[in-house]
Symmetry: C2
Subunit: 279 residues, 2 copies
């Protein structure tokens, strides 16, 4: 893993075609447009009106979208729909080599899926912006951006794409998709699991909250703004997640065990005191 320093490489305006125009894509698009990039989009739902307002050409027809000669095709689908969406795209319609980049929250899964379908002369860049509309609402400065140059020949295009995030002040982290998934299973997936567990418990603010409890209510509320599809994608398509879920269960069990042991100790102590008194 390495942290890139801010590159001064000449970056150029890109033609970026976004596949899947949900909230996260919309969030990224705003910054890209501000930076002067030319955006088009396609999605299973109809976002033509929203796109028109943003100055983005929306294509309902995926063939027309692919023929628009983008420098970058940016995959912003949900994790669960990735394979189906890729399979439905007639990628032989591409007129020239293109950089395929993705922003999914798991990384080995889109890497493998892209390598399977992307034409041999096109490049593949896997990325994960570790932020979203909430944590990135006041800018992206200091927020983590992970990427792996999976198959890059056109360095200029790849570098211009990374500049989008680098120039906003993101902490650029180059690491393998495997390393990402290992770390994310222990961090992002666990965070979502705890947030959803707190939602199942239906925790609410009380009149006597401690500051730490307040952060848990905030965690619950933040997590529930994300879809269950995202959460289950983090689990189903990160091969390290199942083990971390087991680890979490074991850890909770150990904590419980320690409490039970302490309860027995205290009971023994009280019993022996009672015996002393009764002598």
């Amino acid at each position: 893993m390495s942290v890139s320093s801010s590159q001064s490489a000449a970056s150029r305006n890109l033609k970026i075609g976004i596949v899947g125009f949900g909230p996260f894509a919309q969030f990224l698009a705003k910054t890209m447009i501000r930076q002067g990039h030319i955006l088009t989009a396609t999605s299973r739902s109809d976002y033509s009106e929203l796109c028109a307002n943003l100055g983005i050409s929306f294509f309902r027809d995926v063939n027309a979208f692919l023929e628009a000669e983008n420098d970058v095709i940016l995959i912003c689908t949900s994790i669960l729909s990735l394979r189906q969406v890729l399979n439905s795209m007639p990628l032989h319609h591409l007129k020239r080599p293109t950089l395929f980049a993705d922003v999914l929250s798991v990384k080995e899964h889109p890497r493998d899926a892209l390598l399977r379908v992307v034409p041999e002369d096109s490049d593949v860049l896997c990325t994960h912006p570790m932020f979203g509309p909430e944590s990135g609402k006041d800018g992206w400065k200091g927020l983590n951006f992970m990427f792996e140059r999976v198959r890059i020949r056109d360095e200029a295009i790849c570098s211009s794409f990374l500049q989008i995030f680098d120039s906003e002040g993101c902490r650029m982290l180059e690491m393998s998709c495997e390393e990402h998934d290992k770390l994310a299973a222990r961090s992002q997936f666990l965070t979502h699991t705890i947030g959803r567990t707190l939602a199942e418990l239906d925790i609410q603010y009380t009149p006597i909250d401690t500051k730490r409890f307040e952060t848990l209510v905030q965690l619950k509320e933040g997590t529930m703004k994300d879809s269950f599809d995202l959460f289950s994608g983090l689990f189903l398509h990160n091969r390290f997640a199942q083990q971390e879920l087991q680890n979490l269960e074991l850890a909770l069990n150990k904590v419980k065990q320690k409490l039970v042991e302490k309860m027995n100790e205290e009971q023994d102590l009280n019993d022996s005191k009672d015996q002393e008194h009764s002598r």
Copy 2:
């Protein structure tokens, strides 16, 4: 439950004798001294040097401590040692009616223990400042302070004692010890349980942390600054805690169940697609 507004009742300087002079008592004592109250202390460990530095008379001999004619005896022991400490105090040595107040993180337990041993002509006030050296390091303004007037005849002394917290800007919450314990089992105890579970998991900052995960690492680190004795006290002496621990386990189990169901759904979907393809 009611929230008291800032009282303008004339408050006076009190003679406060602290029983148990650990970190939390030391933290409270600094503000009480600044406000002009006269403090004495006794503790199972020898804090005579620390007390001398703070301008507090420290008594190793509990008889002498009790004969010092305090307005308030403030119980700051750990939850687990409360009964033993109270039993070891020859309260018949008191020269006059005294307000017994406590600041323990569970409330029915000290209420019952105090009512059992405090002389009939002395008063009992149960309180829980919902903050500590960490969350209260920049002042107590807006922090929650719970209390129940369990047995109060001397309103002037009780009110002067509450003024210590009210005048610092605490949110004063009058509620029953039972209501406190119900709410705290779902908030403070759960928070400690999750913090300790994360410590068992040994979660650490990673290079690709999300903001939400960072709050969990902070929660873990904050929780582990508190003793296991405090945590087990929250469990053993709050009759609502055991149920909340069970609820937490059930909630985690439900979240897991939902993931497994989704996994099976996706598997079925893939199987049916494979069958379509093989036709």
